[in-house]
Amino acid sequence: MSESLLLLMLPLASMLIVAVYNGDKGLLSKGAVAASLISLLASVYVLLTFNSTVGFQSVSSYNWIPSLGINLSFGLDGLSILLVMLTNFLTPLIILATVNREIKNQRAFYALIFLMQFALIGVFTTLDAFVFYVFWELALIPIYFICLMWGGKYSGAITLKFFIYTLTGSLFMLTGIIYLYLQTPGSHTFALQSFYTLDLTAQEQSYLFWAFFLAFAIKIPIWPLHTWQPDTYTDAPTAGTMLLSGIMLKMGIYGIMRWMLPVMPLGIMQWQNLVLVLCIIGVLYASCLALVQNDFKRLVAYASMAHVGLIAAGVFTTNIYGLQGATIQMLAHGINAVGLFYIVDIIQSKTGTRQINELGGIAHNNRLFSILFVIVLLGTVALPLTNGFVGEFLLLNGIFNYNIWFAAFAGLTIILGAVYMLRSYKSIMLGDIASPSSKFETLQYNEKIVLSVVAIAIIAMGICPQYFINLAQPALENIFQLSHLHN
């Protein structure tokens, strides 16, 4: 079995084991953590033996529906291994974050998280468009149920909207994929490599652009296709929000880099100006909305939207700074978003509220929590020597190389980000101790572990980002070569 297949199958095995397990509940959550750690260890092993310079490696391919040219083929390059790493790094944290929370029907909960992990790795490793589409849609199913069954009181309506909205986008992509399939020579194939060699007219590429872009833009989300996001993030259980913001939205960014840039570069060039404008409007719009939120979780949701808007803008600059920045920032944002949403969850579970104006003064008796909160905050506002800085510096430089004015406007995010993050930190943590805050007890062991790991990752990635840059570089160069874009 090749490495890529191993990484894919481990979460599936975890899911099956958790689903059939019928014993002690305390053991179940520990087992789930252990299972997710096995996946992490496996991916670390793969990473250590990884040679990023040779393009796709550990490729394995099996016939699925030969008559239609559909193969279960998987492989890894620098870009996909980084996103697999992100998935496998965050999943144990997400599971560990939930172990001391009251969760009804734990088995189903963990099984769905593993199913989600399986689908995400499938999206990040497959080399077949049809399989990509299957995993893309498969990822929607566990998250739908997680949000529906463990979400807040409006979860029914909100998840339905989320489901239909993103499904609609995906259908456009499906038509695009089928169109591309029909263009492949001979008996047709869905293989990624054959899509890369298609000779498409500018007009075709322009239509294909919109077919794929709608699916990816809704998932990311890019303004103004975002309205499912704040509601879903706010209403979903924390694990669901972490999965969505930490990993799932990266499917959209990854999709653009893997399936759009090399296949329809002329379409990208035709529309990139418009998309960049939308992305930057989204950055500023979401930042402004974050300024006036009182629900801390919703604030973080808008902050997240602002950050991914900048990532998407970076990708659409189609220069090396933008693409490297997007890659680094995908990892950074994943880690920081998980940290922030967990902080929201800790505050809510300990004080019973997450309304900013009802809180205050938590820092007085909780030094460790305030230190960890500050580190996550600094990563979010992109202070140098944190992961957020590396990403935003490269992204803004990429946008600058595209258009200086775009960079000036997008750069406002570093000011607005500081305003809304410091404002919420001040109201929640500083000042007089508000009555709900007095109920805040010391962090539990799992809370300490998760936040500390996040904090360490934020600083480590801020000081040594070059490791990740080196991993991604050949994969990104390959994308440039395929798309005949100048880097």
Partner: protein, 632 residues
């Protein structure tokens, strides 16, 4: 060995920060003092070693830590270089930093959160060292934002008080506005020169053409960064509010070191500014305007720290004026002397506040010279230095600025304003001095019974700083003494292609004579007003007319609030309540409505009546025929 020293200088305070940061509130004070003061002191000694190496003609000394970010043309290392300019900054940061650490052991003695305070101070020293030691723009930016963070943490050190928290947030956000300018400046540099390393950029720039528009834009962008960090118009309003922090912080961060980062940056990039006379002129004008504007506000402030804060803003304006006319060494000269006398004045103010049981209003002080003799004398020396009495340090640096601005082509107007400003400076400083230390005590009986001179940990740093505040001017004697200008000679390798502005001996003599006469007059007048006639400033509410405007700082905070904060809030609220809900989400939801209504309509056709269906089929067939034979 030398390069190891370069690494150790910032590393030691970082270690001090990490260890003291992990200590809890019960930790032993001696341990914390040893760690934090000790680490800065060792860094100081190492800085002295490097200084002597450079003094004796050594080339700049570098240390490369790691390859940080290599993407495309961008090749960023985390690496440090100590040259003449960095070396001077190192001495100021670690030297004055050490004295202020020692001072803080006395000043913060009863603080329950002692370890946290000292860990923040060490972290600040670490980032400030990075700022001046980096060998590329991004390492400078790391320090730049890092000191902003420490400033935020220390202004809001007493975080129970929400006014302090607001001041801290304001400082961070206003600095961030400047930082955006800095960032864009860096992107422009990378784009133009293909690198962000000082050496590469400056080598290429020294062959570039004068008045290149890109270089002018680069200089302006960098200057926007400097405006935020060094509190100049229009981004100065955070600095007076920053006085909410503990007084040693005001002395170290908001007077001696961090706020001079903007000056350091421009001196560092002097090649670029020399290429752009337009940008230089802008710097000079902004500096002069800030110097005058802040000084006038200083006239009407009654909080001892606020007077000093506006004075700092004003003095920084002097430094920018010097840089703008191309007198980079002179700007650095004033950085050095200002670091001594302003740190001294702030620490004296801290000693006074300490003695006054926390009172900061000079209207409640008076006559303190008897109870606080050492504080009084040292404060007096500081006052003489900042006012520019010869032979105290401020005299040399300020007169050099005035002389250079005077020689600058078209600089007469700027010179006049700066000269007037220095009269105002002397006025508000002597006003502060007389009201605090002379006349009758105006505080309450509780304060009177507690008046005492501060402990040695406080007075010894005061005395040392006073010695330097008095004598530091010797490193830059004017031409007329025919002695070498030590500072200019030392800085010469760093300053490339700068214009020479040399005032004549007769002008220098005239300047000295006139300033002596004017200063004597100001001293006499202020004595008459505030001591002999004991005219104590009126309560804030009783201010009238122009006085009221000035006392309320020209309502600039209110103006910013009305022009920026409120509109942003209003737009955001509107977007949140209407655009998001009705326009964007409304459009999405209209698809649901469309589906529902559409299906309702189509359902009407599904009647089950066979006749209607057949009718439909017939119509359909007719349409097909018509289409086939007539239209196709």
């Amino acid at each position: 060995m030398d390069s190891l020293i370069v690494l150790l200088i910032p590393l030691l305070p970082l270690i001090g920060f990490i260890i003291s940061g992990t200590l809890n509130k019960q930790a032993n004070h001696t341990l914390i003092n040893g760690l934090t003061c000790g680490s800065v002191f060792v860094s100081f000694l190492l800085s002295v070693i490097l200084f002597y190496q450079l003094q004796s003609g050594s080339a700049p000394i570098s240390y490369k830590l790691l390859n940080w970010i290599y993407v495309g043309a961008l090749k960023l290392d985390l690496s440090f270089t100590v040259d003449a300019l960095s070396s001077i900054m190192l001495l100021i940061i670690t030297g004055i930093g050490f004295l202020i650490h020692v001072y803080s052991t006395g000043y913060m003695h009863d603080e329950p959160d002692y370890a946290r305070f000292f860990s923040y101070l060490n972290l600040f020293v670490f980032f400030m060292l990075l700022l001046v030691m980096g060998n590329n723009f991004v390492v400078m930016f790391v320090g730049w934002e890092g000191v902003g963070l420490c400033s935020y943490l220390l202004i809001g050190f007493w975080f129970k008080n929400n006014a302090y928290n607001d001041a801290a947030k304001k400082a961070f956000v206003m600095n961030r506005i400047g930082d955006l300018g800095f960032l864009i400046g860096m992107f422009l540099i990378l784009n133009k020169f293909g690198s962000l390393n000082y050496q590469t950029v400056f080598d290429l720039a020294s062959h570039a053409a004068t008045n290149d528009p890109t270089i002018t834009v680069i200089c302006i962008c960098l200057f926007i960064g400097a405006l935020g960090k060094s509190a100049q118009i229009p981004l100065y309003t955070w600095l007076p509010d920053a006085m909410a922090g503990p007084t040693p912080v005001s002395a170290l961060i908001h007077a001696a070191t961090m706020v001079t980062a903007g000056i350091y940056m421009i001196v560092r990039t002097n090649v670029l500014y020399t290429l752009s006379p337009d940008a230089g002129f802008l710097v000079a004008v902004m500096g002069v305007a800030t110097a005058l504007f802040a000084a006038t506000i200083g006239l009407k402030q009654n909080d001892i720290k606020k007077v000093l804060a506006y004075s700092t803003v004003s003095q920084l304006g002097y430094m920018f004026a010097a840089l703008g006319v191309g007198a980079y060494e002179t700007g650095m000269f004033h950085v050095i002397t200002h670091a001594f006398f302003k740190a001294l004045l702030f620490l004296c103010a801290g000693s006074v506040i300490h003695a006054m049981s926390g009172e900061q209003d000079i209207r409640s002080m008076g006559g303190l010279r008897k109870k606080l003799p050492i504080t009084h004398i040292t404060f007096f020396i500081g006052t003489l230095a900042i006012s520019g009495f010869p032979p105290f340090s401020g005299f040399f640096s300020k007169d050099e600025i005035l002389a250079k601005v005077h020689e600058y082509n078209g600089g007469f107007m700027l010179f006049t304003i700066l000269a007037i400003t220095s009269v105002i400076t002397a006025f508000y400083m002597f006003r502060l001095y007389w009201l605090t230390f002379w006349g009758n005590f105006r505080g309450n009986s509780h304060q009177a019974s507690h008046l005492h001179e501060s402990p040695k940990s406080i007075t010894i740093p005061l005395i040392l700083l006073a010695v330097f505040a008095a004598s530091a001017g010797l490193i830059g004697l004017p031409h007329l003494f025919h002695a070498p200008h030590l500072l200019n000679n030392f800085l010469a390798p760093v300053i490339i292609n700068a214009p020479t502005l040399e005032a004549s001996a007769s002008f220098e003599i005239a300047l000295i004579v006139v300033s002596l006469i004017v200063l004597a007059l100001v001293t006499y007048i202020t004595y008459q007003i505030y001591v002999a006639k004991a005219r104590i400033p009126v309560a804030d509410a009783d201010e009238k007319g122009i006085s009221k405007w000035v006392a309320n700082k020209y309502y600039i905070d209110e103006l910013y609030n009305a022009l920026i904060t409120q509109p942003l809030q209003a737009v955001s609220t509107f977007a949140n309540n209407y655009i998001e809900k009705y326009v964007i989400d409304g459009t999405v939801n209209s698809f649901r409505w469309l589906t529902n209504t559409g299906s309702l309509l189509i359902r009407q056709i599904q009647t089950g009546s066979i006749g209607l269906y057949i009718f439909g089929i017939v119509i359909g067939i007719i349409c097909m025929f018509v289409f086939k034979f007539y239209l196709a």
